[in-house]
Amino acid sequence: MRVRVTVMLKDGVLDPQGEAVRRALGTMGFDGVQGVRQGKLLELDLADGTSRDEVRAMCDRLLANTVIESYAIEMPAG
């Protein structure tokens, strides 16, 4: 089964890359872009039946640095 993990810098942690993207969009004439946050998406191919807790452990121990990052897990329904 395929599980998606989205890792983002926590709110309040300055994201200079996202800010550079926001400024570039403004320069290109896209008005009204008030903020951009850049994160990463990881797709994991996992054995069927892998529990959400196990994915959470992967996130806590490696995929995200929870000092500065938060994560969201998308599991297939069922």
Binding site: L9, V13, L14, P16, Q17, A20, R61, L62, L63, N65, V67, I68
Partner: protein, 223 residues
């Protein structure tokens, strides 16, 4: 006195670190990332600069979970010394040996420069020889040196006199101009500057040599 320098795929300051330790009188062993143990009798572990594992996922993240990292953690837990410049700083924060994290530089650019620093505490073997308030200059070369730490932890670091070095002109957006921090037992130093690249006249400056000499003296005093 024995130093062990860890070598990860992508490390590029490991030999410089070994030379600096040797100059200060240490016997040096190079230790591969797949090894599970440090040489017996290791007094100080050098975690070198570079791009361990290609900086994949996050700088230092994979190295922090490598086989040798468990041995590094045990070494630190039993009060061993750890010197961790640049990518080493990123690795030991990823391991949680030091608080905080290193983010992309605020200006988004990789910075290769020599920067002025102020020594903020003399209360560690690493910084004793410089002395508190000393102004030195060391090379920096990094893309992720923007030290991030929450407000409570920052207050704690300040209260416990654990900020080792501050930039005089903040190059990377680091919180509170912090360039280097110490562990609670003052035996682990993580810093973005490279003391090992400023140890002999051919390097252009020798400000870094005092760190290695101070460390050697601290150990001899303890022995």
């Amino acid at each position: 006195m024995k130093a062990a320098v860890l070598v990860f795929p992508g490390s590029n300051c490991d030999r410089d670190l070994a030379v600096a330790f040797r100059q200060a009188g240490f016997d040096v062993d190079m230790v591969w990332h797949r090894d599970a143990a440090l040489p017996i009798g290791t007094d100080v572990v050098g975690v070198p600069g570079g791009f361990s594992y290609g900086d994949y996922l996050r700088c230092g993240a994979i190295a922090a979970r490598s086989p040798i990292a468990a041995a590094l953690r045990s070494h630190a837990d039993r009060g061993g010394y750890v010197l961790a410049p640049c990518n080493g700083f990123q690795i030991v924060t990823e391991m949680g040996l030091l608080p905080g994290a290193l983010l992309r530089n605020a200006g988004l650019k990789y910075i290769c420069d020599t920067v002025p620093l102020r020594v903020e505490t003399a209360s560690s073997a690493f910084t004793a020889r410089w002395g508190v308030g000393a102004e030195i200059a060391l090379p920096i070369a990094h893309h992720e040196g923007n030290y991030a730490v929450d407000a409570d932890t920052l207050r704690m670091l300040e209260a416990e006199d654990r900020i080792a070095l501050r930039y005089l002109a903040n190059p990377n957006g680091a919180a509170d101009d912090i360039a280097g921090v110490l562990s609670a037992n003052r035996r682990v130093l993580g810093l973005m500057p490279h003391p090992e690249r400023a140890c002999e006249t051919a390097h252009g400056r020798i400000d870094g040599a005092a760190l290695f000499r101070g460390l050697a003296e601290g150990m001899l005093a303890r022995a």
